[in-house]
């Protein structure tokens, strides 16, 4: 057998292994009712977020409102209208796009920051590790939600609320960045501890012996070994990001022209909807928030158990 034939064989074997792993992973995950239910809920919301116009038409504004102020649910407006006469179904479906987008971007920043800090800190070690972990501990202990409340208006005042960054309104970008800055620490901790154990494995020594640099080892050998953790962590981070976004929007840091669910609830609160008994203004966005956070938590827990079977006995 020639050397190249052996190499091709290795590559084929690696693929077969990957497919087999994915299959067995899929089977185990599908055996988890909670995970599947969560996934189904998320699928519905992703479709709504991707094509809101398809289901309810364009986002209604104060000028294109289709009803009277605070109409209770009727045949024309299944979920009633808000204080500007906008259709609640329309607003809630469009809210999915805004809430999910902010949640997604904030999660991306959080996990990226957390994974880089975690891997570099764990792999390089030494004073860099000490310094980075001090910083991580600081952010872990800090009441980050209050820091977000302080940071968001400062940044907004600095760049101006009407500014646009890459065509997106500054308010939304700032919320994304603030959530990212204030919530990466727990991800970094988790990834670091996994990196510490991956670093001691034989293949890392082997890579070093054949002359691989630190950057190469972190990318090719450490990263694949912490990917499981990153994925499970991402899903749980998503739940937290939506939670934080909703709360920040509720206390008035959202964008009224691109209303997320939290912003809708803020509008309901400031228009006095709870005291007026206008439940239809509150129930739709509130239900969506709870369903999405719950779904992410269910999927995250199931993934965590399937990928890290040690803790599986708990749930």
């Amino acid at each position: 057998m020639s050397a190249s034939a052996a190499q091709i064989d290795v590559r084929g074997e690696r693929w077969r292994l990957r497919v087999r792993n994915a299959r067995s992973f899929g089977r185990t995950f599908l055996g988890r009712t909670d995970g599947v239910v969560g996934l189904a809920i998320l699928a519905v919301f992703v479709v709504l977020a991707l094509f809101p116009d398809l289901f309810v038409g364009k986002l209604e504004t104060a000028t294109t409102a289709s009803g009277q102020a605070l109409e209770p649910p009727s045949a024309a407006h299944i979920l009633g209208t808000d204080d500007l006469g906008r259709d609640m179904l329309n607003l809630t479906v469009h809210g999915a796009r805004i809430s999910m987008t902010i949640g997604f971007l904030a999660t991306l920043i959080t996990v990226l920051l957390g994974a880089v800090v975690g891997i570099v800190s764990g792999f390089i070690g030494g004073w860099l590790d000490t310094g980075l972990m001090r910083l991580t501990d600081f952010f872990l202990i800090l009441p980050t939600f209050v820091l977000a409340i302080l940071l968001a208006p400062i940044i907004l005042d600095t760049i101006g609320a009407d500014a646009e960054i890459l065509g997106i309104k500054a308010t939304l970008v700032v919320i994304v960045v603030v959530i990212g800055i204030t919530s990466w620490a727990s991800t970094a901790r988790v990834i670091r501890s996994q990196t510490l154990s991956a670093r001691e494995r034989m293949f890392v020594d082997r890579a070093r012996v054949i002359g691989s640099g630190s950057g190469h080892i972190m990318r090719r050998h450490i990263l694949p070994n912490v990917t499981n953790l990153i994925v499970a962590n991402t899903v749980l981070t998503f739940a937290a990001a939506i939670f934080t976004e909703t709360t920040l929007a509720f206390i008035g840091l959202g964008d009224p022209f691109q209303p997320s669910w939290g912003e809708l609830l803020n509008a309901a609160e400031t228009s006095g909807a709870p005291g007026l008994g206008a439940w239809w203004y509150i129930v739709p966005p509130a239900t969506c928030v709870v369903l999405v956070i719950l779904a992410f938590t269910l999927v995250g827990n199931a993934l965590d158990d399937v990928m890290n079977p040690k803790g599986a006995d708990r749930r």
Binding site: P143, L150, T246, I251, L265, W279, V289, V290, I293, T297
Partner: protein, 325 residues
Amino acid sequence: MGPRYLARKVIQTIVTIVFVLILNFLLFRMMPGGPEGILLRNPHITAETKAAARARWGLDKPLIPDQLVDYVEATAAGDLGFSYKFRGTPVIEVIGARFWPTIILIGLAELIAIVVGLALGAQAGWKRGGTLDRVGNGASLILYSMPYFVIGMPLIIIFAAELGWFPTSGMLTPGAHYDSFLDQLLDFLHHLVLPLATVSLGLIGGYSILMRSSIIDTRSEDYVTTARAKGLTDRTVLRAHAFPNALLPTVTVIAINLGYVVAGAITAEIVFSWPGLGTLTYDALQTRDYPLLQGIFLLISVAVIVANLGADLLYGRLDPRVRTA
């Protein structure tokens, strides 16, 4: 718990608080127009007035170390600057006036949530897979997914707007005259019910989930098997052997949570217009009252950091295995 463990924890706490002070100091300097631009919100101000103000406030001195030292000294003496919104009242006084409503609301809510949440979680985890576990754990997960205002707004609609059992907002009926202290207390309690229910429900989910997984871990411990082998009843094994041990990890979380009292209360207080630190934070945010916001951030941070120290020390007392660490 040796003195070295204690000393290390205390030093860590002090270092963290110094970090918070530096962060707070830098944030105020980061703002557009600098501190003088914020303090003299007048576009027609002359350069001379500005320079005079800078000299008076020590802003002409170098940022580090002079200004930083001044800031830390003033803060340590309780000087947090002046609020904009409340016409130059010292921040510390503004915060002091709103302190107790929050402490009462959150203190009672924590108490209820700890008792109910831990009991629910322990029962659910002990009879794992049973009816109580399925219903209780499901409910806990749902409650855990709900921000406070999502719990509070429906409560107002049902119990205040529709049924009219409780007032929608405030802490006391405006303009009311009370014949006795008891009347006033009753009015206060009447206003307290819904916000208290909101915060308690919001906290129960987390505590219950934590206790459940903690008790599931202890079920397979040797001392539980031993207790069973001694012929103790199921109740006794849970009450006297599993529960106290399962409590350990939850103690830390509860202690840390106590530090988050104010942060957590913000949205619940907004919904019920409860006159505590939460509504104060909201008002400060609306009016961009930065000195007040920073004061609140500093207060909450120090509370959380100190609570963390308390948790570490308490844990060291409760679990002998940590003492040598």
